[in-house]
């Protein structure tokens, strides 16, 4: 339990660090690769829906705190996607890399939809219009997360 908590906190710090590194290398990369979303879906697939939802809350609030927007917006979308990722991954057969990638792609698309939908409700502006790089985010999230799940299971086959 303590070890898992430590891994999750470390994961969150790593996500923030990677996000900072990507922004430093090229600001547009922050739009293409959402490190927080990757972390949440990875946690949900590896540890289950409850940990996915809690990580979604923590990572989402961290993402909100580092942006000038509505506090809680990313938290909401990541909590929902974290829970769904964990719950559905237990019900579906996601053993191959291809199946896992497609599943994460659909989830990530859903998460992006929830986020942009609430953003539109509040600001009456579509983020997908002002930031076209967001369209590529689900594909990159799917590929990177599926690869990370494979790596994680190779390192620790018990999870």
């Amino acid at each position: 339990m303590v070890r898992k908590g430590f891994v999750l906190v470390l994961g969150l710090l790593l996500a923030v660090a990677l996000y900072a590194l990507l922004g430093w290398l090229e600001p547009a990369l922050v739009m293409l690769i959402n490190t927080f979303s990757i972390l949440v879906i990875l946690t949900a697939i590896v540890y289950g829906e409850l940990d996915g939802a809690i990580m979604g809350t923590c990572a989402g609030l961290a993402q909100d705190a580092l942006s000038h927007g509505v506090f809680g917006l990313a938290g909401l979308s990541l909590t929902i996607s974290g829970f769904l990722a964990g719950w559905l991954s237990r019900k579906l057969d996601l053993r191959t890399f291809y199946k896992r990638s497609v599943f994460i792609f659909i989830l990530s698309l859903g998460q992006l939809f929830i986020w942009t939908f609430f953003y539109y409700l509040i600001f009456r502006k579509s983020l997908l219009y002002t930031q076209p790089g967001l369209y590529l985010q689900p594909a990159l999230t799917a590929l990177l997360t599926a690869a990370l799940v494979k790596l994680f299971r190779r390192v620790n086959p018990t999870v």
Binding site: L13, V16, A17, Y19, A20, L21, G23, W24, L25, E26, P27, A28, V30, M31, N34, F36, E49, L50, A53, I54, G56, T57, G60, L61, A62, Q63, D64, A65, L66, S67, H68, G69, V70, F71, G72, L73, A74, G75, L76, T79, I80, F83, W87, F118, Y119, I122, F123, K125, L127, T130, Q131
Partner: protein, 278 residues
């Protein structure tokens, strides 16, 4: 039902977390750009991580470049030594000219004032939802910074103003390319006044210029006017790239800002601007 049993009910826990977020959003929306205590705490918690990563990255990249550029630097060094020789002499001549126009005490006072007013800072993070909206810098309350201070790039072009949350060693900067920003500006050519706001895509718009007004020239430079009492007058903002008269009552004036988001590594925060302009 005990709290541990409640937590074991996964659907209930997830539902409670969703409700928590909806409450957060409903509390935040009426506040506008004001930050909540929880956001301030999380910003204070994670901005040191950003700062550490960017600083380490800079050190590693710097070391790599240093090794790579050793031969070239040696050649450049010889060339620069020659240039420094001439520049030193030129500097002495200019100092002398300055002494003639200003008293020594006045000169020292004004130079001291400039040094106290400009706070150099490094960019440590960009906005996660739109990088044209805001960024985070590694200076804060400990360096005398507060909200609503103008921020310029290393060439003196305006990039935005400081905003909440303000932490001891980190502060957010609201960029002029953000839809939430507003800067009182004036054009150089025909002194056209207006309010400059961002379009969220890296460009700015000068708002509230009547369609019937002849004011506005394509290619004209835009400066801050100082009417908003946030930005001092005369700061360079950008250049008008397009003017179109739409069906509405106002013109659509598009301004390309001078600053480049990819070149923003070192920025300058101007504090006590009223003193330096006096």
């Amino acid at each position: 039902m005990s709290p541990t049993r409640l937590l074991k009910n996964k659907f209930l826990t997830a539902g409670l977390l969703v409700i928590f977020h909806l409450l957060l959003i409903s509390y935040q929306v009426p506040l506008g750009s004001k930050t909540t205590l929880l956001e301030k705490i999380l910003f204070a918690l994670f901005s040191p991580v950003q700062k550490a990563v960017v600083s380490s990255g800079r050190v590693i990249a710097g070391t790599w470049h240093n090794i790579k550029d050793l031969a070239r630097v040696n050649r450049e060094n010889q060339q620069l030594e020659k240039e420094i020789f001439f520049l030193r002499h030129e500097n002495l001549l200019l100092q002398e000219k300055l002494r003639l126009s200003l008293e020594q005490s006045e000169l020292e006072e004004s130079l001291k004032l400039v040094a106290e007013t400009v706070v150099p800072a490094r960019v440590i993070g960009f906005d996660t939802s739109n990088y044209y909206r805001s960024l985070t810098i590694d200076r804060g309350r400990a360096d005398g910074l507060a909200r609503n201070l103008p921020v310029c790039d290393k060439f003196g072009n305006l990039i935005g103003r400081t905003a909440e949350p303000v932490e001891s060693h980190a502060i957010r900067v609201l960029l002029i390319t953000s839809e939430d920003s507003g800067v009182a500006v004036v054009s150089v050519g025909d002194r056209m006044p207006g309010i400059l706001s961002g379009d969220g895509q890296g460009r700015c718009l000068v708002k509230y210029v009547m369609s019937s007004s002849p004011a506005g020239l394509e290619g004209d430079e835009i400066l801050t006017s100082g009417f908003d009492r946030v930005f001092p007058p005369g700061l360079k903002v950008g250049r008008i790239i397009q003017i179109s008269t739409q069906e509405g009552i106002f013109k659509k004036i598009i301004v390309k800002p001078y600053f480049d988001i990819r070149e923003l590594e070192l920025v300058a925060v101007l504090k006590n601007t009223d003193q330096i302009l006096r």
